[in-house]
């Protein structure tokens, strides 16, 4: 708590931009008071004996614990609520220890706290909080950080000059003091309703608890300033600054501030008690309306899904809902991520699957037509047809691994162009105008990617490899589908040539796939990596997906077989 309190403090300081003050406040960094409050309260204390200040520090912790929480409660996310009751207990216990020190001081000081709060609240209203890009070491509590941020934001938006501008500012914020007090009490009251399971809480009880909370709030910080503070105030109003502060030009204004804050305090209390009465009325009325035709709120509680035995803890419900939403987001994100490198999904996204499916539809339909034809002829003719079908199927068998003689492209021809040429040469006898540009373009893109140094992350390269393979495969499958459609409407068929052409195209395409896989794995291997195991896994996967790609291509080729066959029978 301490670290962040001082954090708080430093940020609040920023807006006023006086380096010496900043320095001074750093020394006093155990306090959470807003600037002016601090000036008056703490400065004269400095020359005092160290024993008191140590004592002081220790007490401050308690007092501020409470305050941070009170301050936080209305805005903190649901999870923090769990802490609140505990802390309050703590504070109450502490209070009894502290009372001895309190003496005449009593609530006079909580006022300053309000200043701190008010400043934050009032300025915040005019300007949305901006997170401060400030290094913030050791933050034990995210809630505190939130307050810090808000304060920081508030102070940046605050009055530019210190001195007079500041007091005007604080007068303005007086009004907000009452409001923010009421707000926090309202939310306290509401949380009381929600946290207790006694069905419909009594409005009186609600009001009482608010009062109690208010008292606790008022008392808690008092010990912070105990005896010395009397001196502080006295010293401040009486005039000449202590020797330790001779160089501090701003100090004389301290008296003014303390006067103003006194005023703020009394007004604030009036507003609070007045507000409480109103609140009580509102609360009673609300309960009446809520219970109208629903005694004991039984129906409404049932509607909220809160069983009689369970405590109707809305915060719990909200927490769970939040956790669930977070979980959903995470799962969704993971799915998206998984889909990004999921070969089958990518293949589907590139329309590979649907081309394959459409090709399969054609293939089945044509097979049925062939069977019909065979049924409709006599036995001899049927035997002829069977032989022809067999011959076409044999023509379409993939050749054994041959010499890679075409791997040496002619001079001055780019790899992509050479690929295009090979495809065109292979399909020359097909007698169709196939569009290979998308395949060639995709190859060009991959080549450019391989030679660039744009991506150096292993995973990024892996993703690109899987997507590149899926895309090339989808475009390849599309070629078979288009070829099949065009063959079916081709007026004059030359089955042997067509079969040979498609076989050669398959050879070119499967080689192309394995070349892509090699390019990507080489790029991965060339990278310096501290996780060679991961790289090896990726490389294995790339070759696995390349095998997958070849299978898709050969399946597409096999699906095209009946379309070749029907041309011959």
């Amino acid at each position: 708590m301490h670290t962040s309190d001082s954090e708080d403090f430093e940020s609040a300081d920023e807006g006023h931009g006086s380096p010496e003050k900043k320095e001074r406040k750093k020394r006093l960094s155990s306090s959470n008071y807003s600037d002016n409050a601090l000036e008056t309260a703490q400065q004269p204390q400095e020359p005092k004996s160290s024993s008191t200040s140590v004592k002081n520090v220790a007490k401050e912790t308690d007092g501020w614990d409470d305050f941070d929480i009170d301050d936080n409660e209305p805005i903190a996310p649901p999870p923090s609520k769990a802490n609140v009751p505990d802390k309050k207990l703590e504070v109450e216990q502490k209070q009894s220890n502290v009372k001895a020190d309190q003496k005449s001081q009593d609530t006079g000081w909580d006022d300053f706290d309000d200043w701190g709060q008010d400043d934050a609240t009032s300025t915040q209203k005019t300007e949305p909080p901006k997170p401060q890009a400030k290094p913030q070491p050791a933050q034990p509590d995210p809630n505190i950080k939130e307050v810090t941020d808000r304060l920081a934001a508030a102070s940046t938006g605050g009055s530019g000059g210190w001195g007079w501008g500041w007091s005007v500012d604080s007068l303005l914020s007086t009004a907000t003091a009452g409001i923010s007090n009421i707000t926090s009490q309202v939310s306290q009251g509401i949380s009381t309703v929600l946290e207790t399971g006694i069905g419909a809480p009594d409005p009186e009880e609600l009001a009482r608890s608010s009062l109690r909370a208010n008292e606790a709030k008022a008392k808690a910080p008092a010990p912070i300033n105990t005896a010395e503070d009397v001196t502080v105030q006295g010293g401040a109003t009486e005039g000449p600054p202590g020797p330790g502060n001779a160089g501090d030009a701003a100090f004389p204004f301290g008296s003014l501030f303390s006067g103003v804050s006194k005023f703020v305090e009394t007004t604030g209390t009036k507003v609070i008690s007045g507000g409480l009465d109103t609140l009580e009325t509102i609360g009673k009325k609300t309960m009446e309306v809520l219970q109208d035709g629903d005694p004991g709120l039984a129906k409404k509680r049932a509607l909220l899904g809160l069983g009689a035995g369970d405590k109707p803890v809305l915060s719990q419900v909200l927490r769970e809902a939040k956790a669930k939403a977070d979980e959903d987001d995470r799962v969704r994100e993971e799915k998206r991520e998984a889909k990004e490198v999921h070969y089958e999904n990518l293949f589907d996204d590139f329309e590979g699957l649907v081309h394959l499916e459409a090709l399969e539809m054609l293939s089945k339909q044509v097979s049925m037509r062939i069977e019909e034809r065979m049924r409709s002829v006599d036995a001899d003719k049927r035997q002829d047809i069977k032989e022809t079908l067999q011959q076409v199927a044999e023509l379409c068998e993939m050749p054994e691994e041959e010499e890679d003689d075409h791997e040496a492209p002619s001079e001055g021809v780019s790899k992509a162009d050479a690929f295009h040429e090979r495809l065109q040469a292979a399909t020359q006898d097909l007698g169709l105008k196939l569009q290979f540009q998308p395949l060639v373009k995709q190859y060009t893109d991959i080549l450019a990617y391989i030679s660039s140094t744009e991506d150096t992350a292993v995973r990024a390269i892996y993703k690109r490899a899987v997507s590149g393979l899926a895309h090339s495969t989808a475009l390849s499958v599309q070629q078979y589908h288009k070829a099949a459609e065009m063959l079916l409407v081709k007026p004059r068929r030359s089955t042997a040539d067509e079969a040979d052409a498609l076989t050669q195209m398959t050879v070119v395409l499967t080689k192309h796939i394995s070349e892509l896989a090699t390019l990507f794995t080489e790029k991965l291997n060339a990278l310096p990596s501290d996780n060679q195991e991961q790289v090896n896994t990726y490389i294995t996967n790339i070759f696995l997906e390349a095998g997958n790609s070849s299978t898709y291509i050969q399946n597409a080729f096999q699906l095209a077989l009946p379309i070749l066959q029907i041309g011959a029978v």
Binding site: K299, G305, V354, A358, M361, E485, M486
Partner: protein, 222 residues
């Protein structure tokens, strides 16, 4: 691929005479672009886009853009079967394309059986139908007769322009919404061996939430 997550995939098929503007309609719907010139479609081409229906359910529309040319007719009819929706497309400036609509519709009904798809009658090129059109094209199909035909046959009906984008989005949304409503009402369901409707990447735990809600409601009434 903005967000690949979707709840359902619907397969819609576009049919109609050649050059009525099926591919342009799809191009505008998926790319937001209008191509002045385009090659005639060979067999079938595919487009896809994810949309949201009224309750926010994400639907991937898989769009089958069939060739209108007569010579591909024997091929394209093998593609009808797995469609859950069919857009009957005609050119408002081409009378015969409208007159062929009943034939296209019969063909689709016959091939999609036993499934009963959602039909929409979509008139294209209304940007050319104005009297001040430079191309000299004139509207040859009135809105009224299109509406009348749609009403008689229980079709959705609209007129679009892939050049201005007018009603393009609506043409697909209206069909998707109807298909989705029919899923909700139980008329359509996901079936094995039929690809008209497929489930996609569901939102996680969507079902759990519904179950919870249902239970709560039950406990209040009992």
């Amino acid at each position: 691929m903005v967000d690949p997550i979707f709840d359902y995939q619907f397969r819609l098929i576009l049919i109609g005479d050649s050059t009525v503007g099926k591919s342009s309609l799809l191009k505008y719907f998926t790319d937001g672009k209008f191509a002045e010139l385009s090659d005639p479609t060979v067999g079938v081409d595919f487009f896809a886009r994810i949309i949201e229906v009224q309750d926010g359910t994400r639907i991937k529309l898989q769009l089958w853009d069939t060739a209108g040319q007569e010579r591909f007719r024997s091929i394209t009819k093998s593609y009808y079967r797995n469609s859950v929706g069919a857009l009957l497309v005609y050119d408002v400036c081409n009378r015969s394309s409208f007159e062929h609509i009943p034939l296209w519709m019969m063909e689709a009904k016959r091939h999609i059986e036993p499934h009963r798809p959602v039909f929409a009658l979509v008139g294209c090129k209304i940007d050319l139908a104005g009297s001040d059109s430079k191309n000299g094209a004139r509207r040859q199909v009135t809105l009224e007769e299109a509406q009348q035909f749609a009403e008689q046959n229980g079709l959705h009906q609209l007129e679009t322009s892939a050049k201005t984008g007018f009603n393009v989005e609506n043409a697909f949304l209206i069909v998707a919404q109807d298909v989705y409503n029919r899923i909700q009402s139980g008329e359509y369901k996901v079936e094995d061996g039929w690809d008209g409707i497929k489930t996609g990447f569901n939102r996680p735990n969507g079902m759990d939430f519904n179950l919870l809600e249902a239970e709560t409601v039950q406990s209040t009434c009992c």
